[in-house]
């Protein structure tokens, strides 16, 4: 709650929250459980109440330096330690380090006889002792039904419990009280009346033979909280609640482009490939080459040093590696280098939410730059169209917010190529469609870009050929019969080549002709020139002779003159 200006309005003190450290729980509660107050966690047997409560204490001790007391009425301390060891929690160590106190309260109904008025002060003293011993800030009582099982007098018990919760508040400890689910009320004995600050229910729901754990915050006084059912899972790291993905559509858009792995495809995208952080859908019928396109993209990304997470719902990783090797893509080397991680599971292995949570966890651990999912059409088997679409929407939102590029394959039926069963087309930024073209008794694969948001792309259909060296995209021929692919294309290519050859030869011939004519011309010119030159020579000779004779005549005259001694 916001603090407001004291001068104009009274300040509001916001509720202090105690962070649990449990994956996702702090998000849906807006910061954690109410500090210094008791929270009720109820659910039927096996729902995970004890795990939740214990994890609350453990993380409190380890991450927030708040020691805790676990008061159990159902299991002994040894049993608890054993059970939680399988979850990777070392209780004994924490007890030894005085970060955790585990107190097993044994109430054996058969040895108790009620003989009048009593109260549960012994429990208070015991708790007080435990809290003091580790200076606890967090307390768990698991389960309070244990008290009801031991004592008959419900009225006294109720009164004492009310007193206990008040006492816990006074002590300032944040407490979790677990209780069994009642038939008509939240808890069997109506504890929710006293523990009114925060109530969380856990459930184990089974639909279509697939079980999912769900959590719901029924009540959280004084705070905003998520009100939906949140699926969660319990694994070696404790509880993970499906994170609340931001549905506000405010993720950033990158302008960086990353190559597709197929150079010709890059050029079809007017340059450099897909946008980083975009979602790419490759759809097509069986055997049209979808997984291969995925593999090329991954190969390219790994080559750049980016980590890739490849989620397979239909085959085993070994199979994919083998299949891709046949077209010259070696994925195994990236696996060995730690750049490529496979996550393979049949969709029917668990529910949609579990898949989502598992994927989230993988991404959080591995930090990939690229996530590939092959195929998403299988997921329809484990949920309705609406649910599957919801799940994929959440996933895509999460990936986009983290700027992770994601690529998906979708198996489409022949006549509904441009739809997807799960109607996720609007979530995808880029859509590559793979088709089979059947002509002349053979089928060939073709690819075209149906859409690519934010960039210019080619609208041409290209033939997709799987070669030993990967995928190649060739131009298709538009012949008289329509699009030609495969052998028809080859024959067309051959005939065009032949034509070109003929034309070439024609040119060559003409060229030679021209040369010949030039030579003739040159020869003629040469002859004329020679004739001219000899005439020139003659003329020159004549001129020079004439000049010479003139000179001689002049000289002679002079001489004659001199000789005659002509009088001047």
């Amino acid at each position: 709650m916001p603090k407001q200006n004291r001068k104009t309005k009274p300040t509001m003190i916001s509720l202090k929250k105690c962070p649990t450290g449990i994956q996702g729980l702090d998000e849906i509660t807006g910061g954690g459980l109410p500090q210094g107050r008791p929270t009720l966690v109820c659910g039927s047997a096996g729902c995970g109440k004890t795990v939740l409560a214990m994890e609350f204490l453990l993380r409190g001790a380890l991450q927030y330096n708040e020691p805790g007391v676990f008061m159990c009425f159902e299991e002994t301390a040894e049993d608890l330690a054993k059970n939680f060891a399988s979850l990777g929690f070392d209780l004994k160590d924490l007890v030894a380090r005085k970060k955790l106190a585990i107190d097993y309260v044994r109430i054996e109904r058969s040895e108790i006889t009620e003989t009048g008025e009593f109260n549960l002060e012994g429990l208070f003293v015991r708790l007080g002792l435990a809290i003091k011993s580790v200076k606890a800030k967090r307390v768990v009582l698991d389960t309070v039904e244990g008290l009801f099982a031991g004592f008959n007098n419900v009225a006294i018990l109720r009164a004492e419990l009310r007193r206990l919760f008040g006492w816990l508040k006074e002590k300032g400890v944040t407490a979790i009280i677990t209780g069994e689910q009642g038939e008509k009320t939240l808890t069997r004995y109506g504890l929710e009346e006293y523990v009114a600050d925060c109530v969380i229910t856990l459930a184990h729901v089974s639909t279509e033979q697939i079980a999912t754990r769900r959590m719901r915050i029924v009540k959280y006084r004084g705070s905003l909280h998520g009100t939906n059912d949140y699926p969660f899972l319990i694994d070696e790291q404790g509880i993970s609640i499906l994170p609340v993905t931001s549905m506000r559509l405010d993720h950033a858009a990158s302008v960086e482009k990353i190559p597709t792995g197929i150079p010709r495809l890059d050029t079809m995208f007017s340059g450099n490939g897909y946008y980083r952080g975009s979602s790419i859908l490759v759809s097509g019928t069986s055997g049209s080459g979808k997984t291969s396109i995925l593999a090329e993209f991954i190969n390219e990304a790994c080559r750049r040093g980016e980590r890739c997470l490849f989620i397979i719902f239909a085959e085993s990783p070994a199979q994919v590696i083998r299949n891709m090797r046949s077209i010259g893509i070696n994925l195994e080397v990236w696996v060995k280098k730690g750049l490529l991680r496979f996550h393979a599971a049949r969709p029917s292995l668990y529910g949609l939410e579990m898949h989502l949570v598992t994927i989230h966890k993988q991404i959080k651990e591995f930090h990939p730059g690229v996530v590939a999912i092959d195929p998403i059409s299988n997921l329809i088997n484990i949920g309705t169209i609406i649910e599957t679409k919801k799940m994929i929407t959440r996933l895509i939102d999460f990936l986009k917010a983290s700027l992770i590029t994601s690529i998906y394959t979708n198996l489409s039926q022949g006549d509904t190529l441009e739809e997807t069963d799960i109607e996720v087309a609007s979530l995808m930024d880029t859509w590559l469609l793979l088709r089979d073209i059947e002509i002349n008794g053979e089928r060939n694969r073709a690819l075209y870009i149906l859409k690519s948001r934010g960039m210019k792309h080619s609208n041409q259909v290209r033939e997709l050929i799987l070669t030993d060296k990967g995928i190649e995209l060739k131009d298709v021929y538009i012949g008289a019969a329509g699009v030609l692919t495969g052998s028809a294309r080859l024959s067309q290519e051959a005939s065009e080549k032949a034509e070109a050859l003929i034309v070439d030869q024609g040119f060559a011939f003409k060229q030679r002709e021209l040369e010949r004519k030039r030579k003739i011309l040159d020869a003629q010119i040469a002859a004329m020139r020679t004739a001219f030159e000899s005439e020139e020579d003659n003329l020159k000779k004549t001129i020079s002779e004439g000049k010479l004779s003139e000179k001689v005549t002049e000289q002679d005259r002079l001489k004659m003159g001199k000789l005659r001694d002509a009088d001047k």
Binding site: D103, V105, R106, I107, E111, I112, T113, E114, T115, G116, E117, F118, N119, L120, E121, G122, L123, V125, R126, G128, L129, L147, G150, F151
Partner: protein, 109 residues
């Protein structure tokens, strides 16, 4: 004044070898219930177990660890340690019949 162990422990030296009942009463300070319980149990012991019992009164505030060891949650609690089996009686010990039956005694006639 709080009751302490030495004042209440009744052990007749002559009958020490024949003590059959070892009883321990846990109380919480000086509450109404506690005082009533002590009185009632003293009364019962004197009337029905004269010379055959040893009664210890423990204040859980004084000795919380002892209370924890005996798994005492409710107070007052009377713990019959001997003879076995272990029995617990919780309350102010006002229902005498119940206690006698529980202690395997028949009311003396």
């Amino acid at each position: 004044m709080k009751p302490d162990k030495t004042a209440v422990k009744k052990t007749k030296k002559t009958a020490s070898k024949k003590e059959k009942y070892v009883l321990r009463l846990y109380v919480a300070g000086q509450t109404q219930n506690s005082i009533r319980a002590i009185e009632n149990i003293k009364h019962i012991c004197e009337e029905y177990l004269k010379g055959l019992y040893s009664l210890e009164v423990v204040d859980i505030y004084q000795q919380p660890v002892l209370a924890k060891g005996d798994q005492i949650i409710a107070v007052p609690t009377l713990l019959r340690k001997l003879p076995l089996p272990l029995r617990k009686f919780i309350g102010d010990m006002s229902t005498t019949e119940r206690i006698l039956v529980g202690l395997d005694l028949r009311p003396k006639k």
